[in-house]
Amino acid sequence: MNRSKFDLAVGVFVALGMLALGFMALRVGNLASFDGSEGYRLEARFDNIGGLKSRAPVKSAGVVVGRVESIKLDNTTYEAVVSLRVKPEYRFSNDTIASILTSGLLGEQYLSLDVGGDPSYLSDGARIVKTQSAFVLEKLIGQFLFNKAAESSGTSK
């Protein structure tokens, strides 16, 4: 086999590899979609974030509008500080409510933004004041049992 045949075959091989990498990037992965490096930053504080992770989607009315950038714990208030990046084309009112929800019963957790009626908009670095923590099943069950117990002891009197 002569040299040009090697060149051709190896060229095809490398092209195929690049094609596969492109397929990985655009069709399988999410390189083309919003990767959180642009847009403006917002901050929200929660009592409990449940299972929220960094890079989790930020949705409004079900549409992905950004991603969670980082999650930290504030050492004085013991609140979770979630910073997120929102695509520049979306704007949210000052009284927007941020809540942590779960997609489906067992799905991953995401941050939901629900717009209020305030005419002014959140700007870069602003803080979302109204937040609603993640719904934690154990706490809810505990609360339910406690209420039930209180109820039954109340009726027996």
Partner: protein, 262 residues
């Protein structure tokens, strides 16, 4: 009796350390002349043909079938929880993070590296390397380095081809055969596969595997005993050592790459 056991243990440790030292010096020698592949690109192209192009068929067919099996098995489990649409993300994540780099490295070790070991071992046994050395041509640069670099370059390409074939296989079974929604399949996949975290880390893995498998194959070939038996046992050692190193390295890399994520 105990003393004899200890003695044997000590001897085998010494032997192992000796061989490791030899391997380290040899690896350094190979890496330091690997630049020849840039100067004489045709040497690398030729070896990429023999290790890369010739592994293409086995890699893509294996990838396709692994993807198809993953789809069938994954669907079995996922549909119990009513989340059959997550099949795309299950298959893609398994392939991109683990199966793509690992299985293609294992197949590569069996298909290409063993041949490289046998080839270099035979060249040594028939004094071809000595003849080259006597002609003032460094066999480490002319013969060994291109074969090593071919593994380093080919394996990542083969791994992404494997993963892509696997995703296509899962698509064929999951969407065309089982009937999962086309849009949900892809969008679930895109939502969970992160290019930088998953695809690039998978690629880094396969580069590391390429370095390991490449070095092992040329080392075993270059240091094979110059007999038929020596070459055949070197070939076996290449496959065994490569496979074990790939699996151990995979564990180490997975822990360091993905631990913080989940």
């Amino acid at each position: 009796m105990l003393l004899i056991g200890l003695e044997a243990l000590g001897a085998s440790i010494t032997r192992t350390l000796d061989r490791l030292g030899l391997a380290a010096r040899f690896s350094w020698g190979v890496v330091s002349v690997a630049g020849i592949c840039l100067v004489r690109f045709s040497l690398l192209v030729r070896e990429m043909y023999f290790s890369g192009v010739k592994s293409l068929a086995i890699i893509s067919v294996s990838g396709l079938f692994v993807g198809m099996v993953l789809a069938v098995q994954g669907y079995e489990v996922l549909q119990r929880f009513g989340s059959a649409e997550s099949l795309g993300s299950l298959v893609a994540l398994s392939l991109v993070r683990e199966l793509g780099p690992v299985v293609s490295a294992l197949l590569f070790a069996g298909r290409a590296s063993s041949a490289v070991t046998a080839e270099i071992g035979l060249m040594r046994a028939t004094e071809q390397l000595a003849a080259m050395d006597m002609m003032a041509v460094n066999p480490l640069a002319r013969i060994v380095a291109p074969r090593f670099m071919a593994a380093v370059v080919s394996l990542p390409l083969l791994a992404v081809i494997f993963s892509s074939a696997g995703v296509l296989g899962a698509y064929l079974v999951g969407v065309q055969l089982i009937g999962i929604d086309d849009g949900a399949f892809w969008s679930q996949m895109q939502a969970s596969v992160d290019f930088r975290v998953d695809v690039l880390n998978g690629l880094i893995k396969s580069v590391v595997f390429g370095v390991a498998v490449g070095l092992i194959s040329v080392f075993e070939g270059y240091h094979a005993a110059p007999t038929a038996e020596g070459v055949s046992s070197a070939t076996t050692r290449t496959v065994v050592t490569s496979s074990l190193s790939v699996l151990v390295l995979d564990f180490v890399l997975t822990v360091s790459m993905f631990r913080g994520l989940s």
